[in-house]
Symmetry: C2
């Protein structure tokens, strides 16, 4: 855990240069616009420790899988997020000496990520080995408005000298993935040109044949007396050096405009042309105007999704950082894209899509974005259905059973630990549940018959084959699974997974009933070779006869068979210095312990809370929460929501802070690899579903707000079925502002109230 980021409501600020934290800051200060993004690397040369990272949405590479011991069923290749062209480079030289913060004496270093307006700014004074002192202010953004464009204004003041200078902007496609399994380079040069004006490299990926053209233009303003430009090319690399002379105390600024154009959106033979046009247009518009329209778009974003917390700057900064990252990672315009676990902030982990999307991220986009955005997220899985069926076939399932991959980029599995790839199958449940979630929130009933049921049938078929009848128990059981708690592997009858399976079967049967006899259903049946009653009767039989572990004496659901045979301890019993256990204990010790990585049984109770009375929820919470180490970033939010529900305000606040400031405080000591982007949506959930007690039940909105003692108040906005609502809690009052021209009935603490059109309703906080 670190504490070097300044607390500020709207900005992430680092003051003073700490080289050993540089890679952490590179992650935290990352910027993106949904189409491309990158880590907060320096523009000028830096010979110190850095993880250079630039990523173009949807562009991936299937790296050869690396394992110690092969298991049947592993994928041969893994789709990896691909490190793409470094377009930010601007090398700076004075009288032959290169500016490099690793060799200079650095003072007044400041890095700021302005979240409200979406740009990155860095300033510093550097004394170079020769004694020359320069001061620099650089501003960078990836335009939210012109989403192919990145721009930089790099302002330099020679503080104590006049002399010759060279500035060298570049585009560098000669990059490697830090996580490449066999040190392979994944890009092949196709075309390049270094010129005084537009310079570019176009490269393509091996195997997947994505093509990307990255080009640039720049001009220098201020006190720089130019003596001309020299273009220069190397393998997959172009640069242009502009030489000149500079004067003591007089600033000059390099304006660099770059564009990333990918074959995801344009024909290959158009890429260079489009790139040149985009760069030319950006350069013509100019940095300030580009930045102004970009800022305005960000401000607009905040209107939809901001959460204001009064009286707690750390919490305020945390939630805004989470919302900022989500909004710059995924804009929902392209249903081929998804929310990578590290967004555009790093390349660790193959693939980009986990169950995180459905179980955590969806809630945020449902509430803060246009319905199309969430729809694209659920459609993403619909488009991958054929591959999910192939994936299941590879494991021995038949007849259209679908197993979605644990991690994916294009529908294929990108993970190879047997205990996860083959066993952490509850992901299938989350994908099914997301269909319900989307329809329930936005009321898009047609989605079920048009797309949802086809996916639900595939998943139900999988569950029906994945359970087996146990003669011994006289019930169906599900063996060999790994629940959300990955600190248990290959267990039998994981309550959460079995519960998800049963829910899927039930919801699918409901859907089939709803559209019984319809033409659409008939043609769906044809499409999926549905075997009618043979299938539905099996599903019903499973629903009636499935084993779910429950302990009468303790009154708790059993995470898995024999869970109670463990040595049951509390997290407080772990010796000091042993946490996180995943960094201090051997894997075998972790597995045998009772400690839970992330919400597992409680994840199911959270999802299906209305099935249980409050005492049951309480008993389970009190049983499992003390054993939960929350070593997954996805865990605290769920416990926080339940704690809020149970009125455990201190626990709810503790859990909230832990998720909200995970990366800012480098809580898990791994932010240098990139931010925990998907779990950021969990922070939003911990707030909205936790403190605000927001639910959608049968298409109707419920709130049940509470206010942590540490806060004076909060307010936030959501979209719900055509309405824009502002919800605030302060001074013992809840106020719902209905900004749309249609009234809305909703429930406050289970009491029906009406938020009138363009009006508001207030009630007292309980």
């Amino acid at each position: 855990m670190k504490n070097y980021i300044k607390h500020d409501p709207w900005s992430i600020i680092e003051e003073g240069f700490i080289p050993e934290y540089n890679e952490i800051s590179e992650s935290i200060f990352s910027i993106g616009n949904g189409m491309f993004g990158g880590r907060a690397n320096f523009e000028e040369k830096y010979s110190g420790k850095t993880l250079q990272g630039n990523y173009v949405a949807g562009v991936y590479y299937p790296d050869k899988t690396r394992v110690g011991w092969w298991k049947n069923g592993y994928p041969e290749y893994f789709a990896k997020v691909l490190n793409a062209a470094n377009w930010i480079g601007i090398d700076i030289e004075f009288d032959g000496e290169t500016l490099d913060l690793n060799t200079a004496e650095v003072s007044d270093f400041r890095r700021e990520l302005n979240m409200r307006e979406g740009y990155l700014q860095r300033s510093f004074t550097a004394k170079m080995p020769s004694g020359k002192v320069v001061s620099v202010i650089t501003t960078r953004f990836n335009s939210l408005v012109k989403n192919k464009i990145g721009a930089i204004a790099y302002q330099v003041t020679p503080v104590n000298f006049s002399g010759t200078a060279k500035i060298t902007p570049s585009v560098d496609f000669d990059v490697v993935n830090a996580d490449s399994n066999y040190d392979e380079k994944f890009w092949v040069e196709q075309e390049k040109k270094a010129a005084e004006g537009f310079s570019y490299v176009m490269a393509s990926t091996k195997k997947t044949d994505f093509w990307v053209a990255t080009g640039m233009e720049f001009h220098v303003g201020g006190a720089f007396d130019s003596s001309g430009r020299t273009p220069n090319e190397r393998e997959k690399y172009v640069e242009v050096t502009e030489a000149g002379s500079v004067k003591e105390g007089e600033a000059f600024t390099i304006y660099k405009y770059a564009a990333n154009i990918s074959s995801m959106y344009f024909e290959k033979d158009q890429l260079v042309k489009v790139c040149a046009e985009e760069v030319a247009s950006a350069s013509e518009i100019g940095f300030d105007t580009l930045l102004d329209e970009h800022k305005a778009a960000w401000v607009q974003n905040w209107v939809k999704s901001d959460i204001v917390i009064e009286g707690d700057v750390a919490a305020q900064q945390g939630i805004r950082f989470n919302i900022f990252q989500l909004n710059q990672t995924y804009t929902g315009q392209d249903e081929r894209l998804n929310i990578g676990p590290k967004g555009f902030t790093g390349e660790k982990y193959g693939g980009s899509t986990y169950w995180d999307t459905e179980a955590y991220c969806l809630a945020f986009y449902l509430a803060t974005a246009e319905p199309e955005v969430a729809r694209n997220l659920v459609l993403y899985r619909y488009k991958h259905l054929a591959r999910a069926i192939e994936n299941a076939e590879k494991l021995g399932f038949t007849d259209g059973a679908a197993l979605y991959p644990m991690v994916t980029m294009n529908g294929e599995e990108c993970h190879n630990e047997w205990e996860i790839t083959f066993e952490e199958i509850h992901r299938n449940g989350a994908i099914a549940y997301a269909i319900y979630d989307y329809i329930n929130y936005h009321g898009d009933e047609d989605y079920l018959i048009d797309y949802g049921l086809e996916v639900l049938i595939g998943i139900s078929r999988f569950w029906a084959q994945r359970v087996h009848w146990s003669e011994n128990k006289g019930q169906y059981v599900m063996h060999g699974v790994t629940g959300p708690n990955e600190y248990e592997n290959n267990v039998n009858n994981n309550w959460y997974t079995s519960k998800m399976a049963l829910w899927t079967l039930e919801y699918t049967l409901e859907g089939l009933k709803k559209y019984e006899g319809s033409d659409k259903l008939k043609s769906l049946f044809d499409k999926v070779n549905f075997r009618g009653a043979e299938e539905t009767e099996k599903w019903e039989h499973i629903l009636d006869n499935m084993y779910l572990g429950y302990d009468e004496e303790k009154g708790v659901f059993l995470q898995q068979d024999n869970f109670l045979d463990k040595e049951l301890m509390s997290v407080d019993d772990i010796t000091k210095g042993q946490r996180p256990i995943n960094q201090n204990w051997s894997w075998d010790r972790i597995l045998r312990s009772c400690f839970i990585k992330q919400a597992d049984t409680l994840q199911g109770i959270y999802l299906f809370e209305d099935e249980f009375d409050i005492e049951t929820i309480e008993r389970n919470f009190d049983f499992y929460e003390p054993m939960t180490v929350h070593e997954s970033s996805l865990s605290p939010c769920v416990h926080g929501i339940l704690a809020s529900k149970l009125g455990r305000k201190e626990k709810a606040y503790e859990m909230y802070l832990r998720t909200a400031r995970l990366d800012l405080d480098d809580y898990n000591n791994d932010t240098e690899d990139g931010c925990h982007t998907t779990s950021m949506a969990g922070t939003w959930m911990a707030f909205a579903k936790g403190f605000a007690g927001m639910r959608v039940r049968n298409g109707e909105l419920y709130f049940s707000p509470s206010l942590p003692d540490q806060w004076q108040g909060y307010n936030f906005h959501i979209k719900f079925r055509g309405r824009n609502l502002g919800i605030s809690a302060k001074d013992g009052q809840i106020n719902i502002e209905n900004e749309s021209n249609e009234a809305l009935d909703l429930y406050m603490y289970d009491t029906k109230v009406t938020a009138p059109a363009e009006g508001s309703v207030s009630i007292e906080m309980e």
Copy 2:
């Protein structure tokens, strides 16, 4: 499964050259002498598919571990059997054309491994692309008498031409391990010299700093009119070309002598000197004399360890092949060595020592070799105790608890699948049991207090920490283990493992009691910081309160918790074409199935058979045998022994054949990687403990022979407490010949009989 090896009682014979089987034959026809050995590669250049392999005993390299996903506790490096200098090379050229069976037309190809006399012979006629025809007979052996020396007589006859010839013997240290994780070469050249006489390369390994000098000399006899020699050197390589002319129809022979001298046995600065002396001496003695003394040694070997089977050539050849491999892999002269899973026949799998040594190989060496040989095998583990304690500490165990590695070369772990490395801990039990086995067989009672107890205390401490008290069960349980059946992972209360743990505690307590109050025990207690009653009382408490699964209704022990909840099927229910399941099913399907890779519960019943009545054994056999797929080479022998015990003659014979001809018939389709050396000892057990019903109970010998219907008779020899015994079964009679000058009381079918000194006793077969 293949069937190209000719059936012959004393030889392994291949007739006709089948290039696609070449790598299989290279494994099967391997030769070794306990100190070095290698695959049956060709001497002359071969451009076809080949796995070149030469191995020097005890020389290993710690390769960097490769995994997909790191788990805490994995070893950073893996000791690997090291491919060493290729000393057999003799390139042959006529008028500038190189002899290469991959480009020639080959006829009359014959490869023979003469097991009785321990040499490899290959003959063929080759028509080279030019039309030249040569016929070759080459004989090779690694001397059992001068165990640093390998020798080759390579006889060539130009069939249809006279002309110029070049012969080029070489020593090539520029080799790679086929299983290198990062394509690294592990040898560094230290010194070399190519000369007309003695030529050599000395190389050392990186990190481990083993040094090996490999040198050669050769001379040419017969119709070769020499025009002189040209030495030639390359990186890690020396060769000497002798040019000359040859005559149609007149044979010449190259005699090549090589020595491998390693720093395991000599100072580094002596290696080249010793190598030169050894080669000179061999060359002086000459090929024929060297071969004669080598043959005599092999014949002598067979006197001790042969098994004669009458009326079944396939079975005869199988058992002799197994015995031959064991005898050429391990001679028991050096307690630093052990029996690698592939012996000198291949390099797959890191490390060399598995629990195979204790659970399978020991029985063979106990019965057929001098007591020192088995003693060295148990001492091997004694010497690794400190590392086993370190290994356990790495996993979180304390206070001198010892966990021996799953696979090792030097005491360190060489395996990295968590479900095996951390969980397949029953190996610790086999290592404990071997101490008992050795003492029980040879009566070396002092071994217990001098060495055995120290190991037993370490292992008992491990078990005492590895179980935990389950409040729920009110008993001790052992969670998170993998039994011998690796088709189950991370199970609770594996009956076999728990049973081994209990046995260890009991035997350790017995040992402590036996030496109670003795000075030796006191100093042992000091050495291991024994905490007296605190430790022994805990062990006794575990012995009294350990959970062992048993199903009352079925009357069977439970392989693990919830085993009966599985869908119980028979191997016969597996669809045709789906076996072996490990090549046809996904890992997850295998895990969830009831199918058992190798004897697990039955392994325990086999070990502790005297605890159970015959009905119990029968019930368990009839329950587990039909679910066992025997996809480990170590499995059929144990089922065979139990089948013999139960009088299931057909099953016993089926199991026996399966283990005896595993490699000869390439049963598992993987012999090309090397032979299954350790499981060969299982074949011996299936014979001796199965058909002959041999047991040692409280230091006394028992036989309970039966004869498969397919055989006319059998006889074999064992050593037992100073006696050499010949046991034969034929014509309804069992005869025990006591070849020593001391009578022996023993039990036949539980009846006491006496085998008089230098006399014999016969009884009727039951």
